[in-house]
């Protein structure tokens, strides 16, 4: 203390510090009296038993619903056989659990794999966390365990929620599945409070919205008897109640999803996406072949997992967003728009060379799919008949940049930004790309011919095709495809802005485009099969993509009703053949089911929009 202060002040300051010390130690004394006198009896009892365990109370995962609130994924109780490790010091019990006889009996009772059980038990003993030995045990297994539990140290039955997908394989790749967390995920998410045995979204919406769907597990201290059986909860330290995860409502319409699945029934491998062009919400998404996510909830065996991943069909892959295909003739929409926007052609433009079934360029003959030839067509008719010779010349005439820019503006060759994990990018080659692959400036002009008809290096996902179709239907207004409509407890859920700004060009061009695409679906066009609902006009474009590994892929993109589009869709059917024979009929079947559910009352259905418009897409 500086010398300046008077002695009186010094004394009073000392008194205050001393008083603080007395008060503080007084608090400790009070705490001691409380524990050692007031609570002595109870704490002494606990000390005698000394069997207190911390049990996790599992939080239910949020449900996933379709736009009408129909359940797509929720939870059901499952009875798990678990191993609860002994307290650290009790070496006897640790030893007991690595005992061969114990292991043999446990493995027998749960009908499990010896190595697997040993590994899990050792891990549990090391970390002190409860290990799930068998998830969703059937009744017979549970009965066997209950019977011998009294002399199987550490074995217990625990009720925990598991995931249930009531519609089975319906929209399986979109929903994804949730399963037990693996070591890698545990490490990656160490700071988010995940623990051994937690359920975590692995793919699809379950993965993309993991942070929302996942709840916060609770915990309670329980008093257990010598056999590890729970006697009562501990009054000290009240239980922390679990916080359930948030429900997520999708833009998916279950009835459209079902209709699309029915329409796709004949297609073994492929994908289809239905969008609402007005706001980009995904109404349905199918990827074939499908799988049943319920299999994963119950805990999938390694053999089954290998089976799912190795038979070449990859059912777990969401082909709608994760596979890229050559767009084939559906790309002619892009070329035509590019030509119109650049002012290089108008609806009545004819190309110098009429179609006689092929086109000679650079000493090579590029064939038209119509071997007999189309004759000389104008632009609109060339699209209607999908004349390759016309579009070879259009591609040559335009050059790479306008086509590539239009493809880019329509959202091809880049991620759409959909709220699903691991979206594929696809590829729309730029001049930079060609310069890298050939020598700078020396790449053959032949690539332009191929580009004109959507062949060559081009790769797009079905989702990109659907998005492109939506932008065309919207007369250039871009939308961002998304699958989540709202999240429980988050009032204002906003869809992010589209990745691409869209296409700004004159209404006349869009009128031409819509007319040409409409003619595709009229008699004489390549997609007459899609026009299945009397009185409703459809606009579309077929595609047949050559595929070096087998039969051609069939493609079709379209939107409807023409005058006021509420549906935009893209279909890719792998190795089927022509788009007009395989993909367009899928659209026809879908429209019949959506717009003519049973009575054929077209008017009513088309007058009422499929969905209410969402404002957030407008900004």
């Amino acid at each position: 203390m500086p010398q300046g202060l008077p002695q009186r002040d010094k004394d009073s300051r000392f008194a205050l510090l001393a008083g603080l010390a007395v008060a503080s130690f007084g608090v400790v004394v009070l705490g001691l009296l409380r524990l050692q006198v007031l609570q002595h009896d109870e704490l002494a009892r606990l000390s005698d038993q000394n069997r207190i365990r911390l049990d996790v109370i599992r939080a239910p995962r949020g449900a996933i619903r379709d736009r009408a609130g129909r359940i797509l994924a929720d939870n059901q109780p499952s009875f798990d056989i678990v191993f609860r490790p002994a307290p650290i010091e009790s070496t006897l019990r640790v030893r007991a659990t690595i005992d061969r006889e114990w292991l043999r009996r446990v493995t027998g009772a749960i009908v499990g794999d010896t190595n697997d059980v040993r590994r899990k038990v050792q891990e549990a003993n090391r970390t002190g966390q409860t290990a799930v030995l068998r998830r969703a045990a059937p009744y017979a297994v549970m009965a066997a365990v209950e019977e011998s539990r009294s002399d199987l140290a550490g074995i217990d039955v625990q009720v925990a929620p598991i995931r249930r997908y009531p519609a089975g394989p319906l929209a399986a790749q979109l929903l994804g599945y949730a399963g037990e967390i693996n070591d890698q995920e545990l490490q990656d998410r160490a700071d988010k409070g995940y623990g051994l045995g937690d359920l975590i979204g692995k793919t699809g919406v379950e993965r993309g919205y993991e942070d929302m769907l996942r709840g916060v597990d609770g915990a309670e201290f329980v008093v257990v008897n010598a056999m590890g059986k729970r006697v009562t909860t501990l009054e000290e330290g009240p239980p922390r109640l679990p916080v359930p995860g948030r429900d997520v409502t999708l833009t998916i319409d279950l009835s459209i999803q079902r209709a699309l699945e029915v329409a796709m029934a004949k297609i073994e491998r492929g994908a289809a996406v239905v969008l609402d062009p007005r706001d980009g919400s995904v109404l349905a998404m199918v990827s074939k072949p499908e799988f049943d996510p319920n299999e994963f909830s119950r805990g999938i065996s390694f053999d089954r997992w290998k089976d799912l991943n190795s038979n070449g069909a990859f059912p777990l892959l969401n082909r709608a967003t994760q596979s890229a295909y050559p767009p084939g003739s559906t790309f002619k929409v892009v070329c035509m728009l590019a030509g119109l926007r650049a002012g290089a052609v108008d609806p009545d433009s004819h190309m110098p060379t009429a179609c006689n079934g092929g086109f000679w360029f650079g000493g090579r003959r590029f064939g038209c799919w119509e071997h007999g030839g189309h004759g000389s067509l104008n632009l609109v008719d060339a699209l209607q008949h999908s004349c390759d010779v016309y579009f070879y010349q259009l591609g040559l005439h335009l050059g790479l940049d306008p086509i590539q820019e239009m493809a880019h503006d329509l959202g091809l060759g880049d991620r759409t930004g959909i709220d699903l994990p691991a979206e594929a990018k696809g590829l729309v080659p730029t001049s930079q790309y060609y310069n890298q692959h050939f020598h700078t400036g020396k790449w053959p002009k032949g690539v332009l011919l191929n580009l004109g008809i959507g062949q060559g290096e081009l790769l797009v996902t079905p989702l990109q095709l659907a998005t492109m179709t939506a932008v065309v239907a919207n007369e250039g207004h871009a939308v961002r495809p998304h699958v989540v409509q709202s999240i429980q407890g988050q009032g204002s859920f906003k869809v992010p802005k589209p990745v691409e700004p869209g296409v700004a060009t004159s209404p006349a061009i869009w009128e031409t485009m819509h007319l040409a695409m409409h003619k595709v679906t009229l008699p004489g066009g390549t997609a007459n099969a899609s026009r299945s609902v009397p009185g409703m006009n459809v606009a579309g474009k077929t595609g047949t993509a050559q595929n070096p590994h087998g039969k051609d892929h069939a493609l079709f993109v379209c939107f409807a009703p023409l005058e006021n589009p509420t549906v935009a869709l893209a279909i890719v059917a792998e190795n089927c053949g022509h788009g007009s024979d395989w993909a367009a009929p899928v659209a026809g079947s879908l429209f019949r089911q959506i717009f003519l559910p049973d009575t054929g009352n077209v008017q009513e259905r088309t007058l009422h929009p499929v969905v209410a418009p969402v404002d957030s897409a407008a900004d």
Binding site: M1, V28, L33, V37, H40, N50
Partner: protein, 404 residues
Amino acid sequence: MKFRLPPLDWPLAFATLGLIGIGLATVYSATSVPGAHQGLWAKQFLWFVVALGFAWIIAAVHYRFYDSISWPLYAASLVALVAVFAIGVERLGAKRWIELGPLQFQPSEIAKLATTFVLARFFDHARLDLRKLRWWVPPLFVTLVPFVLVAKEPDLGTASSFPAMLVAMYFWAGMPASQLVLGLSPILNVMLFFLTGSVWWFAGLFVGLLAWARPRVVVLVAMLALNGAVAVALPKLWNHLHDYQKRRIETFLNPEQDPSGSGYQVIQSKIAIGSGGVTGKGYLKGSQKALAYLPMRHTDFIYSVVGEELGLLGSLTVVLLYGIVVFRGYRLASIARDGFASLMAVGITTALFFHIMVNMLMTIGWAPVTGVPLPFLSYGGTALIVNCIQIGLLQNVALRRREY
């Protein structure tokens, strides 16, 4: 010539020795269970001998020497604190130690002493006027730098003793108590918000505080603005935090609800203490099962072992001995011969006092688990040496209190 005892502060000396004695006996008991820590008490006894030597030397050198080297020592300790990030040894996820050959030391402990010296030197100034900015701001920075460095290691327990020390020394240097509390009000604001979940509790308190302190207009406006900003920003900030971040804070405030383990420790600690009752289960007779639940029974949770085996009588004896240490420390501060010694004594006593309270309140479940050892009792060489050095410095003040 008649032999005369040196004018040591004997109550302080005996209380310290008593605590160390109880500590050795309890470490022996706590490590008598078969396991990895058996025999540690012998090592701890060796540390005690070394620590006594340190205390002796520290007490023998006149404190004016510490006064004179305070700034260089402070600078060196900051260098060591920075160096610990580069060459420090990592243990249990924290870098707190520097190894010099066979020796290991914690720069944070040296920084604590050096900061005490620097603050004492600064406050012991003829023209000190704590109403002026240029007098009360520098100590804030002098403390903040080592505080941040130590907190980053991370060692929150040791770090938080820096501000405790600073507040006590401000007070001892003559800052009016009301102004001090007013200055601390934003911290109080944050704490009350987390305890009660509402900013209105603090608002009421703040009005009373203003009536008591009657600050100048400038100060009044500044504090109103600061607390207003805290009151507005805090709930918003809270809502912006991720769930897992909220959970961490909640766990810190209420460890019993933490499923990951520290809540478990606290419950076991309370069971150990409570089951001891008034007379205890008897020395060496603590239920070994109960003890074994406490992973840090010979270090951070040693007080639970005292409570279990020696009962209320034993734990109150320990409280009494600590009371003597703290009381004598502050007493020495008020009878010291000059300003530096007086301020140094307050800083050192407060640091000890703070650690004692943090640890004891933790073991009885009334404070978060922070990993602060109990001075003189917990096993650990560095802590024992540093605590004995602190006592040596207090005795240094005592030895020279009658010099002229």
